[in-house]
Symmetry: C2
Subunit: 148 residues, 2 copies
DNA sequence: TCCATTCAGGACCGAAATTGTACTATTTAG
DNA sequence: CTAAATAGTACAATTTCGGTCCTGAATGGA
């Protein structure tokens, strides 16, 4: 179905919550409540996000997480990459030499191009856009693909 | 890693082979040889493609498959949809009501927008583009996302 | 008519990834 | 020193994916 994993989906929700609370640190428990998810799940994905440098953590009492950068500077592509690794539609789009068919594979170049297009689409949406979440928004998020 | 399944990947290769052989019917065995894949695998995905109406089949001696439409009229999106179902990055992008978080989920609308962008990117590449497979192509396949 | 060829439609199994949870260690504020 | 909270790791259950095989139906030729 060509979809991101649930954990990635949850990550966007949690990051959105984090972006909305302002700059103060927020504990995993509070985020779990806000996102209506289980604490262990939220905890798990926050660790991954911290490891990728998208959030910073503070341990100890009154610890928690906050965005490492302004919401405008974090894209959906960043979140997806943090949770799932490099974005590539096929194995050979991300890691060359893993396929064995490459020498006589005419579609490889095109998949790389497609992957790049999708990467661009994901980079074009920032966390700030996600927070805005307009019922209807006139200008729209810049997500149109160039017509041809 | 946000990728299509191997079977989908194989499907694009087989479809490309089919587009290159011209209009005569080609047996699954010939396609398997051309794509360097196992016959059962090729057979399986061709059935799916036939079911989706992308290829037509002829049974019996000298039977085989051929494209149901000109290569220009078949997009990568068609192939992905045939193999994996509707393109949606999250569960709620494809089927509403399956999530339970929808009432208080601010990111849903944005995921739908992102999914649409990816759908467009995949629709922008036809099988004819895949066949062209240029070592380097000046104009390039129309895959740029509108800058903003 | 009979037979070889080739697709149609399932059924099946093993491998791998995903999900969700749990447990222990480490850090920090008071 | 203690309670709060993250870091890191491990694990079982579930689901999906990849690949194979088998039986049935259609087609063309001997």
């Amino acid at each position: 179905m060509l979809r991101v994993s649930k954990l990635t989906d949850y990550a966007t929700v949690v990051m959105t919550c984090l972006a909305m609370t302002g700059a103060e640190v927020t504990s995993a428990q509070q985020l779990a409540d806000a996102a209506r998810l289980e604490l262990p799940t939220v905890s798990k994905l926050l660790k991954q996000l911290a490891h990728a440098g998208l959030v910073t953590s503070r341990r100890g009492v009154n610890g928690g997480y906050c965005l490492a950068r302004p919401a405008e500077a974090i894209s959906v592509a960043d979140i997806v990459t943090a949770m799932e690794g490099p974005i590539g539609m096929t194995e050979c789009s991300a890691h060359a030499g893993a396929c064995g068919h490459e020498p006589h594979c005419g579609v490889r170049v095109n998949w790389q191009r497609i992957s790049q297009a999708i990467r661009s689409a994901l980079q074009g949406v920032s966390l700030a856009d996600m927070v805005a979440t307009p019922p209807r928004r006139p200008a729209g998020i810049p997500l149109r693909v160039a017509s041809h």
